[in-house]
Symmetry: C2
Subunit: 166 residues, 2 copies
């Protein structure tokens, strides 16, 4: 597994499932400007509300193979691991798929991450303990104060100016 | 940009360019089991050597549009930013592309990362200073000793046992 930063702005992200985990993933992608579709016969109130506000597209039905087409990334987050695994088996060769019930069935996992200005930290324990990964991520990010984040902005600006003068 | 861990094992990775930066990216993907193809009329000795050893596939020519097809991820790493940008403009909608000369033209950037056992740390300054990102990544990873990494292995084993008993 290689850690990469992926720009999901305006990308079609398919979330299969309508529970709490589906919601958590959904918010992560929505905040980064993805075009999110949820496929699930039922959904938690927050998903229904986001759908009512036209922030996401909710298909109130069971997933089928046509839903998987054209998605940039698919999050298999139903409470039925058989359905999740069926999804992983039916994506196309180069599609990105995250299976929340058994990460090893997909080709994407979602590490814990924190953003502070231009600084992004990501931590994964590769399945050992998501809770510990979260704690570590918060602890590490606390080591960087506002002054550091401002210095990083200055470094970025200097770099852009230098590049434009080349 | 969302930090994700991507499994590139047996995936087609296309590296366009044959210089030092191309080599650095190449090694990152090769170590994770990717099927690496390099397209470049010229290449540094390490790339030629890897090709001779059949560890990678080197196409000794300029890139054209057919090279881009079927790649899971494309690294545009030539020393000509015009060619790199042409690549970014000609990938298909859901293809992953990293443009080393101007990260904002692609949809993937590569953070600095360190692996210690099951622990993966990734650090990005989003273009402010790759060197500083590297320093931070090393400093943070030094906070985790061998004992911690062993404990993480134990946590993982306990979790797998628990899951299999459910």
């Amino acid at each position: 597994m290689i850690p990469l930063l992926i720009d999901v702005k305006n990308k079609n992200v398919l979330i299969v499932g309508g529970g709490k985990i589906a919601l958590r993933r959904l918010l992560l992608f929505l905040e980064e400007g993805a075009l999110v579709t949820v496929v699930s016969p039922v959904a938690v109130p927050e998903i229904i509300e986001l759908s009512n506000l036209n922030q996401i597209n909710w298909l109130e039905k069971k997933v089928d193979i046509t839903d998987l087409q054209h998605a940039f990334i698919i999050i298999a987050a139903t409470n039925d691991s058989k359905i999740n695994e069926w999804i992983a088996e039916n994506v196309s060769e180069n599609q990105l798929v995250n299976v929340v019930s058994s990460a090893e069935k997909g080709n994407v996992t979602v590490p814990k991450s924190v953003k502070k200005g231009r600084l992004t930290l990501a931590v994964s324990t590769n399945g050992a303990s998501p809770r510990l990964a979260s704690q570590i991520c918060n602890q590490l990010s606390n080591q960087f104060d506002d002054r550091f984040i401002k210095e990083l902005d200055q470094l970025y600006e200097n770099r852009v100016i230098k590049k434009n003068n080349m």
